[in-house]
Amino acid sequence: MPLKEVPVKIEYNNQWIVTKLGLAEDRIVIPAPVNREILFKTVTDVEERKNILIITAKTDVEAKYKILSVEKVLQVLKKLILALCNAYRLKAYFMSPAIRGGVLVKDAKWEEGSVVVVLSGIWFSSGVKQICVPVVDVAAIELTKRDVQAKPTDVIRIDHLESGEVVSSFVLCPLSTLQVLYNFLKETTKGMDMKGTELDSIDQQVAMLVYSGMDSHAIENMLNIPPKQLDAIYDKILKLGLAEVVIVRREIQLTTKGVRYISDATKAQTN
């Protein structure tokens, strides 16, 4: 018997239908016309896109459920699913977000909760907060030290990209657990790793300037390199999957006809 019911919209046959999900101890009950029960232990992935929760459950076949609701309801669902789904999970303190776009987030504090690693993301879950870092957006994972109660303490720093900004989060738990989590996270995000020798120092400077928001013209001026060299470096960076083309600009030069037009126009203005 469901313990609690929550109002949602669920995608069914490419349409959103209004329904009430039953939340039981071990499962979610979706009434007719969907008529499904999702055992929490079969949930292998949880994603969140704006206010849509996407749940992947795997029994004999894999099924995806898209659930739309207000934040308060989604929070109940997320908390429950993250606590009981089939995932790597450990109790930890976390601070997320701690640094956003290179600036320490004001009022960032340690929260007691869990780190839950599912197929597509790393979740930080506490009584009041559920934050997801999608694996594809993870820019760096590092074992580092941070002052906790005025003592340098081992933590894991996870950097991810969010709307073009680098956001850092920290995880704190006993060192032995931290090492296991670090290894697990490194394994989960292995596809994003690089050897570190792919770019030379000029290439790295170009990448850093792109990160800082400089355009091609500014980069050429700052590093004093010709457009062709910058193009070659861009090709290298693009080939490594480190960047994507946002806009292609053109430089043009006037023809004789163009020069004549401008000369005439100038004469007309001065006469």
Partner: protein, 120 residues
Amino acid sequence: MGKILIVDDTLFMRTLLKNILFSGGHTIVGEAGDGEEAVAKYQELKPDLVTMDVVMPKQNGIEALKAIKALDPAARVVMCTAVGQEQMVKLAIKSGAKGYIVKPFQAPKVLEEVKNVLAA
């Protein structure tokens, strides 16, 4: 918009900050490559704001910050630190820094922090 002194021991970082701040409409009144030079340039140029790297030769950013605050208690200094130097940030704030930015820089964040410190 303010008159800004940029302090960093690497030309690359100075140039990058110069470009970012210039694009935000600020005037770069000078540059310094170490803490000692920063203090001398501060006395000479009297900038509205200083961006100060932490790790530098001769005199580090924290020492230079203290020296500048001793000369001018109202000095506005924004510290530039690397990720993982949060303890440095705390020390800098205790020593009188008005703000901090963490490397690598993102232009909008740098401009926002500078704007906030200049407005305070």
